[in-house]
């Protein structure tokens, strides 16, 4: 019995050692540095209140952007999200505080929120997913790291599904077009027609993804090794 345990421990050690070696060889520290930079920028964005502070943070984001250089698709996607976010927040602020006071406060809050989520979005978009998984493995069990990284990976798919449901519901008559949503009376429709089916569908997708992972023996063994990275090819 002792012998078997000892053998298993030796194999586990070999596996861990091999993973760590490949991890350091393919820039574990670099990934950590960028992760911390993104985290710090986001963190300060929540605390920044003055236009000066926000301008400095914007400069930081621009540097992050220039270094990572995400593709045109990402820029287009982010532009749409930012437009929606700004439009929604400024509208709500204007409704609550009036145009004179709400416009500037709304714009500042929108700016702040953009700076809070943009560094994380750039990091997730540009750092290879297996490197994120490996980085997460340093601070959490490998299975949890995989689950978290996979969740991040499926965000674009979930958004595409949401878009498909949205378009289908609009043609069924749902009053959820941007013009319709100018009327707060239609906001509940958004919840019923889009959020509810999206939640149901997301749960189904999560089950399918979990099944697909199990079909490839995920969770069969206690530990996991890590793909050494593309450079090995």
């Amino acid at each position: 019995m002792f012998l078997i345990d000892s053998k298993n421990q030796q194999k586990d050690y070999q596996i861990r050692k091999a993973s760590k070696v490949s991890l350091s060889r393919y820039g574990r520290s670099t990934v950590w540095v960028w992760f911390v930079v993104a985290l710090v920028l986001s963190f300060f964005a929540f605390g920044a209140k003055t236009p000066v502070a926000l301008t400095w943070l914007s400069g930081g984001d621009i540097v992050l952007f220039a270094v990572h250089r995400p593709g045109h698709r990402f820029i287009r996607r982010m532009f749409k999200v930012v437009c929606w976010q700004v439009g929604l927040i400024v509208t709500l602020y204007c409704l609550r505080f009036g145009v004179a006071e709400g416009l500037l406060s709304g714009l500042t809050t929108s700016w702040q929120l953009c700076l809070a989520f943009l560094p994380g979005a750039i990091f997730i978009e540009t750092v290879p997913e297996h490197l994120i998984t490996r980085m997460l493995t340093d601070v959490m069990p490998s299975r949890s790291a995989f689950v978290l990284a996979t969740c991040l990976n499926f965000i674009p798919m979930v958004l595409a599904e949401a878009k498909s449901i949205y378009e289908g519901q609009v043609l069924r008559g749902a009053r959820i077009l941007p013009k319709d949503l100018a009327n707060p009376g239609n906001w509940a429709e958004m919840l019923n027609c889009l959020v509810v089916p999206m939640m149901i569908h997301s749960m189904k997708l999560a089950q399918e993804i979990a099944l697909a992972a199990k079909a490839r023996d995920f969770g069969k063994k206690r530990g996991r090794t890590a793909w050494p990275g593309e450079s090995d090819s």
Binding site: H72, L171, E208, R216, D217, F218, W227, E230, S233
Partner: protein, 457 residues
């Protein structure tokens, strides 16, 4: 050849279910054999596959499954490709995705690249390890998923409904892979009602009946009535200004500046049945999104009912059933689900009830009216989603791969229904599919997409 797996009097019931989904199954699969298992939607094909892999939840089980696999009786050495390719690709690079199973089996990282390259070669996917999985075509994604299974060296590979995802070219590729695997001694089990070209590799046919029993032979196909409802309108009988859809020189750009459609022109007169066909990723869904006004063409003219399409203006006139339409269901009863579009069109209560009932009868699901749509079978949900589109009596009906995942019986029922509303209500139908073979005699016009261009015939 040696036996790989054997089931003896195997039965299974899901926890809380009142009946067995699989009943007294006797099945033996040997190395190098290819078996094909058919059955109507919900008959238990996928459940049987999950049982073989040991992935079913704890339910009521009788009988024995004996696995003679390299991994012992723990279902190691058994690969399974599930239905939806999109939820099976878990990583962003080809190398990492293929190696996922090896990571789970704790294979040393240094050994992975060689095994991954060999599996990619076996699956016929000539991509570098750093290739992005998100940029692969559907056929390539399918081969990647196969490589992800083959890298683990399965003695038995189960493939669930490949024809629902792959176009004819993709199926031909899969046939070649299956042939190679058979020669190498891998056993295969295809869960498929419409194997198409894969028939050439199949050694044994089985099907599950509605009580979960396994019978020999393929699932009997229902008699088609397509010949009894031929197309009615020659394309040129109406003046061009009456066309429901007019497309002239349309170009649509896709990701990274590549054109999905280039300088495309066609017209659809009222009451026509149009089949829009092309391989996976050729732009069929893109076209439907343009027709509904959710996507704007880069160049050219597109008119629906004589005007530039705008979603707001098309409500009540256009019905659209996107892929996997069950995902749009949200009400608590089938009646309310079907009634939703009429409520939004402010139909009065009495008229609304009459029209909903009429539509439910038309779709043959009137008995489901008080039930929750979320508790229905896949095929029933499909019909509910269709009913909720038909209830407004749309002048134009757009359908994106409406038969995907449906068994032949339900697909035939749906096609009869479409024919009926086309004939009775003069509804113009545009149906996008990657499997046009069975619809050629049904359509007035077939639009085939090849290389970003459309050929009408």
């Amino acid at each position: 050849m040696a036996e790989v797996i054997r089931l003896q009097k195997y039965s299974f019931a899901y926890p809380g279910a009142s009946r067995y989904v699989l009943r007294d199954i006797d099945l033996s699969i040997r190395a190098g054999e290819c078996h094909c298992l058919g059955g109507s939607t919900g008959s238990g094909k996928t459940s049987l596959a999950l049982a073989l892999k040991g992935l079913l939840p704890d339910g009521e089980t009788n009988g024995v499954i004996s696995r003679f696999l390299p991994g012992g009786d723990g279902a190691g050495g058994l690969g399974i490709v599930l239905q939806n390719p999109e939820t099976q690709i878990l990583r962003r690079s080809v190398g990492a995705e293929t190696a996922f199973g090896l990571e789970n089996l704790c294979v040393l990282p240094a050994e992975m690249p060689g095994k991954v390259r060999s599996a990619l070669d076996q699956a016929g996917l000539d991509k570098s390890f750093e290739g992005e999985t998100g940029k692969l075509s559907m056929g390539e994604k399918y081969r990647l998923i196969l490589a992800g299974q083959l890298v683990m060296g399965p003695a038995l590979l189960i493939i669930d409904e490949p024809a629902a995802q792959l176009d004819p070219a993709g199926l031909e590729n899969l046939l070649e892979i299956i042939r190679r695997l058979k020669v190498a001694g891998t056993a295969l089990l295809l869960l498929e009602n419409r194997p198409g070209p894969l028939q050439a590799a199949i050694d044994h046919y089985w099907h599950l009946n509605d009580t979960g029993q396994l019978l020999t032979g393929p699932l009997a196909r229902p008699a088609s009535n397509l010949e009894a409802s031929p197309p009615r309108l020659p394309a040129s009988t109406l003046p061009p200004e009456d066309n429901v859809i007019d497309v002239l020189g349309m170009t649509i750009g896709g990701a990274e500046g590549l054109a999905v459609w280039s300088d495309v022109s066609f017209a659809v007169p009222p009451g026509q049945r149009v089949v829009l066909t092309g391989s996976n990723g050729s732009g069929k869904t893109t076209m439907l999104r343009c027709l509904t006004g959710f996507l704007q063409p880069d160049n050219g003219t597109l008119k629906v009912f004589g005007a530039k399409p705008q979603a707001r203006e098309l409500r009540g006139r256009v019905g659209c059933l996107y892929q996997n339409p069950q995902k749009q269901l949200f009400e608590t009863t089938v009646f309310d689900e079907v009634a939703f579009p009429l409520r939004r069109l402010r139909e009065n209560r009495r008229e609304l009830a009459a029209r909903v009932t009429e539509t439910l009868v038309l779709c043959g699901i009137e008995n489901l009216a008080p039930m929750s749509p979320h508790t229905l079978s896949f095929g029933q949900k499909h019909l509910v989603a269709l009913a909720s589109v038909l209830v407004i009596a749309p002048q134009l009906l757009l359908l994106d791969d409406p038969f995907a995942g449906l068994d032949p019986k339900t697909a035939e029922k749906m096609l009869r229904l479409l024919t009926k509303i086309n004939v009775q209500q003069d509804t113009t139908i545009v149906l996008a599919t990657h499997e046009p073979k069975n619809l050629s005699c049904w359509a007035d016009q077939t639009l085939t997409i090849t290389g970003g261009n459309v050929v009408s015939h």
